[in-house]
């Protein structure tokens, strides 16, 4: 009787030990995955900042004015050439 109980407990112990090992292994691989995702997130943040910067650099007023004047032959509006419409007026 005691022998069987011992055997059963031993088997249980071994099973537990193995499950600890596998759980630890799983935890670590999941952790590595998490790490990877976090560093990807950081990289995306950096990319985003870079893109915002690019947007500002490309969209800065000095550049737009230069392009409009040089390539598109545009010129600034003046009040003399503007027709103002009043809401509700005939």
């Amino acid at each position: 009787m005691t022998g069987r109980l011992c055997l059963l407990l031993t088997a249980l112990l071994v099973a537990c030990a193995l499950s600890v090992v596998s759980a630890q292994y799983k935890a670590r691989s999941l952790f590595i995955e998490l790490e990877r995702a976090q560093s990807a997130a950081r990289q995306l943040d950096v990319d985003w900042a870079q893109l915002q910067l690019d947007q500002s650099t490309l969209g800065k007023n000095a550049r737009i004015e230069e392009l409009a004047r040089r390539d598109l032959n545009m010129m600034p509006v003046t009040a003399a050439r503007t027709q103002y419409l009043t809401v509700g007026a005939q």
Binding site: I32, Q50, A62
Partner: protein, 592 residues
């Protein structure tokens, strides 16, 4: 217990197993050894055990900390978690300053010396320096030298690919300023360690700078992080800062100022645009300026934020405050007449004068024609204390509170020491010094129906509560007078804006060098637009213009162009149908 079977004769049964001698009859057993020998063995064993126990105690008890540390250092690592400095954006979210990770390239000189020649040549090329320069840097006794800092990621990757032993990289941040010189004085810049040095970068250093965090981890054989072993100290990124600046208006102001400074070959210039409704600074530009992305050559003149840190004698732009005080205390009305002929007036031993003799002028005309004598006469009818109080309440001579580094207080002498001549000259802006930003701030009382609100460099969400200085009636009367200044009969017809009713006051003042007035001028203009419902205050200052030196023709057009474009950019409806501007052939010159 079961009964043991009778012991057989051992000698007999084991005979076959051994080689003829039973254990019990082994002759060695017969040998009589001295008792001390076994005791000696026992003792030696005992001593050995004691040694083991002592060693175990030593390891476990005494040197356990050291050993555990050594163990941990073989698998645990502390990682630094970098925090990014906050971005600076304008009021519409356009990025004005942003940090991007770059690499610092450093080397262990001894290790690099062994590298093949051609690789070093490639390295020098990637670092954009000559071979000799690189060799000079490597020819060092130290075990750590920076080869180059703030190297962009792509280049750094190529350098790593070269695989030169002893060349390493370290992560750092570089701050980029896409708007460059246009925004330089407002935004400021950071040093190589990412700490604010000037402008808003310095003013908001505390909130912009992040807090680096750290974590302790276990790394596996391949260098991958497998587990955290302590709680993580989270990094806190710096907070983003939204300025009150509108980059569109800033650009307009900067280009117009630049045009004027170049046209009049002036030494310097400054402009500030303030939103009269909220007290926000919409634009602030200075010339000469610098490119914050490349600060290898910088002079003090370029760095100077004249609008905030330089004071000058404002001249006639101060007259409206004297007149407003007189109106507000009911000492005069806009139609009260003062005799300004013959264009000269002697107070004590000094004589002041107008550039033209005007004869009798009403208070309104005194502002329109910018008469010194008229203003002085109004001022002399008031106690110095009241004038001093007026100047002080609108901020002159007071340390500004808009949280910008280097802001100066200017100088208004205590009223007790004013002599009549000083009171007279101060009434038209001489013998008193203010900064351009203080001047623009003070003009809020005219633009805002008599109250004054604090200026702000950051975006304002709720409208601030004003402090009343003059009555709304006085403010309205003053605005009417300021409007006449830009009319064809005033001193600044060049400041007219097509489609909008505007007003302002010109200022022309001698500069002081070494305590004496010299024939160098500061031309300025402070204006309000549109007059029907003031939205903008624009103050312009041109330092030492050549050819022309009056505030009207020099600073007036800058005001007009900035006002016209800024009002359109802000979608302010026009309040005048006049689209043709009449500028008389010989406009009136103002008095100094």
């Amino acid at each position: 217990m079961t009964k043991m079977p009778p012991r057989p004769n051992l000698a007999g049964s084991r005979v076959a197993a051994s080689k003829g001698v039973a254990f019990s009859s082994n002759p060695i057993l017969q040998v009589k050894l001295p008792a001390w020998r076994s005791r000696f063995v026992l003792f030696v064993l005992f001593v050995a055990f004691v040694a083991l126990i002592v060693r175990a105690l030593w390891l476990q008890g005494v040197s356990t900390d050291f050993l555990q540390k050594q163990g941990a250092s073989r698998y645990a690592r502390t990682l630094e978690l970098p925090a990014t400095r906050g971005k600076i954006t304008d009021r519409n979210g356009q990025v004005l300053a942003s940090s991007v990770p770059v690499k610092a390239i450093w080397a262990i000189p001894d290790d690099v010396q062994a590298a093949p020649k051609d690789k070093l040549v490639q390295l020098a090329k990637l670092l954009e320096m000559s071979d000799a320069e690189l060799r000079k840097k490597l020819d060092s006794d130290r075990s750590f030298v920076y080869l180059k800092r703030q190297v962009e990621q792509d280049t750094a990757d190529k350098i790593v690919k070269l695989g030169i032993p002893g060349v390493e990289t370290r992560k750092e941040y570089k701050r980029f300023y896409p708007e460059g010189e246009v925004m330089a004085h407002v935004v400021g810049f950071t040093n190589i360690e990412d700490a604010g040095q000037d402008g808003m970068e310095l003013a908001a250093q505390k909130t912009l700078a992040g807090m680096t965090g750290s974590r302790r981890v276990i790394k596996d054989r391949l260098g991958r992080v497998v587990e955290d072993i302590e709680s993580i100290r989270e990094p806190h990124d710096g907070r983003d800062l939204t300025l009150s600046i509108d980059s569109k208006i800033q650009y307009i102001a900067f280009t117009q100022l630049k045009e004027a400074v170049e046209k009049f070959k002036a030494k310097a210039g400054g402009i500030i645009v303030v939103d009269a409704k909220t007290g926000e600074v919409l634009a602030l530009a200075n010339l000469p300026t610098y490119n914050p992305n490349d600060r290898s050559v910088l002079t003090g003149a370029q760095l100077r934020n004249r609008v905030v840190t330089d004071t000058f004698e404002p001249g006639s732009t101060l007259k409206p405050f004297t007149v407003a005080l007189a109106l507000d205390t009911h000492r005069v009305t806009p139609s009260t007449v003062f005799q300004t002929a013959p264009g000269k007036m002697t107070i004590g031993t000094a004589t002041i004068g107008d550039s033209h003799a005007h004869g009798p002028l009403t208070v309104a005309q005194i502002i329109e024609k910018s008469s010194n004598i008229g203003t002085a006469k109004i001022a002399l009818g008031m106690p110095p204390e009241e004038m001093w109080e007026m100047f002080t309440t609108v901020g002159f001579g007071q340390q500004p509170k808009f949280g910008f580094p280097g802001a100066v207080a200017g100088r208004v002498r205590p009223y007790k020491s004013w002599r009549p001549i000083e009171q007279a000259t101060m009434s038209y802006g001489h013998g008193i010094s203010v900064s351009l930003i203080q001047l623009a701030h003070a003009y809020l009382i005219f633009a805002r129906n008599g109250d004054i609100i604090p200026l702000s460099f950051t975006k304002v969400t709720d409208s601030p509560i004003g402090q009343r200085v003059i009555s709304a009636d006085t403010a309205l009367q003053m605005r009417r007078m300021l409007e006449t200044v830009v009319a064809p009969g005033g001193t600044a017809p060049q400041a007219q804006v097509p489609g909008y009713r505007v007003g302002g006051k010109t200022g022309t003042a001698y500069k002081i060098e070494g305590g004496k007035y010299v024939r160098k001028y500061v031309a300025s203009f402070s204006g309000i637009a549109p007059m029907s419902d003031p939205r903008l205050i624009i103050s312009v200052m041109i330092d030492e213009p050549q050819g022309q030196h009056y505030g009207g023709p020099v600073a007036g057009p800058v005001f007009a162009n900035v006002a016209a474009n800024a009002l359109r950019a802000l979608n302010v409806p026009p309040d005048s149908s006049v689209t043709n501007i009449i500028i008389p052939k010989e406009p009136l010159e103002e008095s100094m």
